[in-house]
């Protein structure tokens, strides 16, 4: 019967929904979308309302329950968080600028970093410089007992300062994680000949085990009587009475643990982007006289670059709002924004409205970053 139909008609039939009506299409999507509307969009709407609502309640009630009457809108809480000055510190120079200006500069740099490659000339330079400028203010280098900064952003507003600090910590551990994952992925992709995927699974498996316990185990390694300190004491490098205290309950600890926790996960996207490189291209380049380094730079690097940016973002995005790691191993020195946010709801501060402002600010930054870089995320994640 189908064979008797002219080909034209048949192809039109194919483009029509094969057997499914619009009703069943949207009927199947509806439950999921409803669940998301009720338990994802609605809660976000509530934190938005809490962040801008002017409420009337007596002070005692306010602590017990935030069920105040909505009596208007206010931007007061937002200006409490955002209406602060920012000091840009580079060695030998301090410059004061409003937060808004800093935000605009960052958005412009982000846009340049993402779209720069479309420029005809100097495209890769624009991208490189924009990425470098985005990273530099937030990178930290360990030097002895201290962490050294090339450029620092600080603020007179305590929450903004804390936010910059969290971004710094997240950025540092993301860069470290990528730098460790690249050689691991390179090794797996090019040097392992047999059962490549089994090795990959061995690398990734720890990511799927209890996060809390891996954090806890680091306490055992880095603690005052931990593996490193007792090892150093045993060989006499460290005095029994003076263990290396910066190892635990500090920014350093949080950065180490975050890096450790995420490296296995990002080995996957980097490995996959190495896998897409055709080895014959490299062979051709070397036959034509290129060195290995030149071949890597001219052929491999452009291919893996999106995967590397994606890997960086896979660590960075969840790390900015990190809450568990700093609570367990950060101590006072390693406090992060997410903890301060949580304190507004369940800890001592108990200020749901200001907590909502903090939550929305964090969400805004993360979403902006995600949408700006969605091209990379898709390339690395193989998403929809």
């Amino acid at each position: 019967m189908a064979a008797a139909e002219p080909p034209l008609k048949r192809s039109r039939r194919e483009t029509r929904n094969d057997g499914g009506s619009a009703l069943s299409t949207y009927g199947l999507l509806a439950p999921t979308l409803l669940v998301l509307a009720a338990f994802f969009l609605l809660p976000l709407y509530y934190i938005f309302m809490f962040s801008v609502a002017l409420r009337r309640f007596s002070p005692t009630e306010a602590l017990a329950s935030l069920n105040g009457e909505l009596s208007g809108f206010t931007g007061e809480l937002w200006s409490k968080l955002l209406g602060v000055g920012v000091t840009v510190k580079v060695p030998g120079l301090d410059v004061d600028v409003p937060l808004l200006l800093v935000a605009i500069v960052f958005v412009v740099l982000l846009v340049l970093a993402v779209t720069g490659s479309k420029l005809k000339d100097y495209g890769s330079w624009v991208v490189g410089v924009a990425f470098a400028l985005l990273l530099v203010p937030f990178l930290t280098f360990p030097a002895g007992n201290n962490l050294v900064r090339v450029m620092e952003l600080t603020s007179d507003g305590q929450y903004v300062r804390l936010f910059f600090k969290s971004v710094t910590m997240a950025m540092t551990s993301s860069v470290a994680a990528v730098l460790i994952a690249i050689p691991v992925a390179y090794f797996l992709a090019f040097c392992v000949e047999r059962s490549k995927y089994t090795w990959l699974l061995i690398v990734i498996a720890p990511f799927l085990t209890s996060y809390l316990l891996r954090v806890f185990a680091w306490k055992v390694i880095l603690g005052d009587q931990g593996l490193i300190n007792s090892g150093l004491m045993a060989i006499g490098l460290v005095d029994q009475e003076n263990p290396l205290t910066f190892l635990i309950y500090s920014q350093f600890t949080v950065i180490v643990v975050l890096t450790y926790a995420w490296v296995p996960f990002i080995c996957l996207p980097i490995f996959l982007s190495f896998q897409t490189i055709d080895r014959r291209l490299l062979e051709a380049a070397m036959d034509l006289g290129a060195t290995r380094m030149q071949a890597f730079r001219k052929i491999s690097l452009p291919i893996i670059a999106p995967g590397i940016v994606a890997a960086f973002l896979f660590v960075f995005i969840p790390s900015i709002g990190e809450y568990i790691t700093p609570t367990l191993v950060g101590g006072v020195n390693g406090t992060m924004y997410g903890q301060s946010l949580a304190t507004q709801f369940v800890g001592g501060a108990f200020n749901w409205q200001f907590g909502s402002v903090m939550a929305l600010f964090l969400l805004g930054v993360v979403l902006l970053l995600t949408f700006a870089t969605s091209r990379f995320l898709r390339a690395g994640g193989g998403g929809i």
Binding site: A2, E14, N17, D18, G19, G20, S24, Y26, L29, T32, L33, V35, L36, F39, F40, L42, P43, N67, I180, V184, F187, C191, L201, V203, I204, P206, L208, T209, S210, L212, L213, R214, F216, A217, W218, V220, I221, G226, S230, Y260, R279, M286, R292, A295, P318, I320, G321, Y323, I324, L328, F345, V346, G355, S356, A359, L363, V366, L367, T370, I384
Partner: protein, 276 residues
């Protein structure tokens, strides 16, 4: 001259160096897990060096602890139910997204995937407001945790199911329609057997995520602690920690097995599809 196949990508010395790097990486990667297993048999109340002596008493204590048993049961329940719901919802959404012309697809995809990047602490507090003061005042408890976990697990499940459904030859289903099968019959007879491995793998990923999730759970569990919440509160107090390590060790080994199981099922599915 026979060249080593890795010659073009790395020099022989570089390869040695990289192998060494990889070996050190693997040791550090597994060091924390090994330490936990060691300390679960250590005869001391604090997890510090040097090791004191071999004992299995912590396992004994853990088995008889009512708190641990209840929290494990709570986690199991939350994990199984939320993984089931997340997988089902993801499957229902993935089918039309992979097969039909959906209007507003970019918007719908974005909405389905955005929970991936929303910081869990933000989702946790937002749901806290919804359940305590909002339009859905079900309060705090395991049901609330389940809902939170469904939202986060949904995109993971979708990312596993959607590409798989999209990769299956559409003509198989068209043939079934042409032979008179209904939509549901086609799904059950043609599609379901082909995507079963992916469904299982989506379920396992959602489950593994849920039984390890602590942020949302600690905001929404109220006084019914799930295992990670119990563990988290215990880890903050060193004197309580030692009794937690044995269960932790068992959990780590189990989740390793789970992860490997999920991966093997996924690969089995891949092979079967390629074999067609």
């Amino acid at each position: 001259m026979a060249r080593d196949s890795t010659f073009v990508v790395i020099s022989p010395n570089g390869k040695r160096l990289l192998t060494l790097f990889f070996a050190i990486f693997l040791i550090i990667l597994y060091l924390p897990t090994v330490l936990l297993i060691l300390f679960s048999f250590n005869d001391s109340t604090v997890a510090t060096f040097p090791l004191v002596g071999f004992t299995t008493k912590w396992y004994g204590l853990a088995i008889h602890s009512e708190e641990i048993r209840l929290s494990l049961l709570a986690s199991l329940r939350v994990g199984l139910i939320s993984a089931f719901i997340a997988t089902l919802l993801a499957l229902m959404a993935a089918y039309p997204l992979a097969r039909r012309n959906v209007r507003g697809r970019p918007l719908i995809s974005a909405m389905l995937l955005v929970p991936l990047v929303v910081p869990t602490v933000v989702l946790g507090v937002a749901l806290l407001i919804l359940f305590q003061k909002g339009a859905i005042p079900i309060g705090l408890g395991l049901e609330s945790v389940m809902i939170g976990h469904v939202i986060i697990a949904l995109p993971f499940a979708l990312l596993i199911l959607l590409p798989r459904i999209a990769s299956i030859d559409k003509r198989l289903e068209e043939a079934a329609y042409d032979l008179g099968a209904t939509g549901l019959q086609t799904f059950r007879i043609i599609l379901l057997p082909l995507i079963t491995p992916s469904i299982i793998s989506a379920f396992l990923i959602s489950f593994v995520f849920s039984i390890d999730e602590v942020v949302i759970a600690s905001f929404l569990a109220g006084d019914q602690a799930t295992y990670p919440v119990y563990l988290y509160s215990g880890l903050k107090f060193p004197e309580k920690t030692q009794t937690l390590i044995p269960v932790a060790t068992v959990m780590i080994v189990l989740s390793f097995l789970f992860a490997i199981g999920a991966e093997m099922i996924r690969r089995y599915g891949d092979r079967r599809l390629q074999g067609r």
